[in-house]
Subunit: 319 residues, 2 copies
């Protein structure tokens, strides 16, 4: 079943072997014009082109692959309004098992349709953490489904770690990897892969200033709550968990916060220059470069574009 | 200098060798979900990821590379409000020669900025064909610059032919290649590459029904004017020329017209499912599949996504 301790190098390597035929090995793109503007070498790891449109599919796939055969028919369950829901639904479908997803009534229709399109069963709840958990518990007690938390789960973290492993395999040592940080699943996995596969690479977490709980947690040394985050980065509003925070605290080089208008500018820059669609939560990585150009001049920097699921009717630069 | 006759197989092969280190060999992407929806195998040739954001860079580069050394310092000139202007500007810059671009005052600011960003000199004119030509002649008589027509030029056509050559090299024989048709540079080049490298492959031109001059020209056997085209496909409003029409007439399998709302739906489908940015003119290719699903069931079909230069403030689905 799921890992009980912080994943080791061997765990990540074996996880990658287990899932590599089920996930996309996403391309790493670069842009001459962006390199010229920022005077450094930027490498964009395109998890927006991952199955289900986000890196979340790595962890969800590893979780589903880790369930013993006897338990498979019980299925998996989670509460999520975002990319984890769709990723878990698709991973479950690929293995032919049921998925039960608790989603707040207020979740965007497009997200509900994606989850439904992957064949999962949706349960609507009120948009509060209490209602989400209550509904999830009800479903689990009825079905016996195995709960896959979006990030407070060492198996999920191991799956997300395969993204940075691919970056380091393809590029060799880089000076920095910048990863968005919300609940910390991607950032903690990235920290572990760097520690094991490229110990000189520094890992930076990128976070909206208006949802800066990870930044405050790192500075204070204890997990700080995410209070009323108001950001266009809908994937980065959650707060760290015990498992993700302990890994991040011990391994991250820094967490850098960025302003909303810088995030929008970075997002638009990537759309216009690179002709790829990324969601706002992905753009925090380039926003870090935009706001701290000097720090990165002459460096080799990998940026994780975490997802590409955007409501095209609500773009942040539209009136 | 420029080719005087219809290009041969050897011309296209040599052209490709000449430009291949200066252009991107753009990726060919596919989407499981789109294949499932349309019950065929679709291959998207991503010229939206080409330098300067469109296939036009192929022809422009070949044209610039074909100028004898003694004439280089005179530079190149054209009139264009779109992708050809940016492509020629960048190709000239790459060879270190001047570029003079006549653009209508009314051209979008974003296009002017792109051309300027590539170091070309812009001359504003009135938005009429007469004013464009008059201004171009003035510049040529002053500078001696060599005029590079966007499509009525066999060298440019040869450059555009390298796109389909890459498709056929990578995929082997396919049943169909669908190319947008405006002035016919891309479609005629595609026809020639298929004729030489994969004679069983059928070439289809995709055209907006509201700018259907190529369709009418093919049916009537003589070039028909493009009268008041009203389409979101800003790259497909021009009409065929003698050189492009003679090649298309003799080699194309069919030209299929598509409705505006189908083009918007196809564009949005590619943005949402494939997470890449294409301009409306590229979306006519998938619109052909959307409108004629039965015809393509079970087939292997390559679609040329001709460009990705979009004004993000004016998306066709926005109110």
């Amino acid at each position: 079943m799921f890992l009980q301790n912080e994943p080791s190098k061997i765990h990540i390597t074996q996880a990658h072997e287990l899932i590599q035929n089920r996930i996309h090995r996403t391309p790493i793109l670069s842009s001459k014009s962006l390199n010229a503007i920022f005077e450094c070498k930027l490498f964009f790891k395109c998890e927006n082109l991952q199955k289900a449109g986000a890196f979340k599919f790595r962890g969800a796939t590893l979780a589903v692959m880790s369930i013993p055969k006897v338990d498979l028919k019980k299925g998996v369950a989670t509460h999520s309004s975002g990319n984890h829901a769709a990723a878990l639904a698709l991973a479950a479908k690929s293995r032919g098992i049921p998925a039960y997803i608790v989603m707040p009534r207020t979740a965007p229709q497009i997200k509900k349709l994606a989850v439904q399109g992957y064949g999962a069963k949706i349960f609507h709840c009120e948009p509060t953490l209490e209602s989400r958990q209550e509904n999830l518990e009800k479903i689990v007690s009825k079905t016996g489904a195995i709960v896959v938390h979006p990030y407070d789960n060492y198996t999920v973290i191991t799956g997300q770690a395969t993204c940075a492993k691919e970056i380091l395999e393809e590029l060799g040592e880089v000076d920095y990897i910048i990863s968005p940080v919300g609940g910390g699943g991607l950032l903690s996995g990235t920290c572990l892969s760097a520690k094991y596969f490229s110990p000189n690479t520094k890992i930076i977490g990128a976070e909206p200033a208006k949802a800066d709980d990870a930044f405050r947690s790192l500075k204070s040394g204890t997990i700080q709550p995410s209070v009323n985050p108001i950001t266009i980065c809908d994937g980065l509003m959650t707060q760290l968990s015990d498992r993700t925070f302990s890994i991040i605290k011990n391994n991250v080089h820094d967490i850098i916060t960025v302003e909303e208008e810088t995030i929008v500018a970075a997002m638009r820059m990537i759309w216009e220059r690179m002709k790829i669609i990324i969601e706002p939560s992905s753009a925090v990585t380039l926003a870090v470069i935009l706001q701290n150009k000097k720090k990165f001049i002459g460096k080799r920097v990998a940026l994780i574009l975490s997802g590409g699921n955007v409501d095209l009717d609500k773009l942040p630069w539209a009136q």
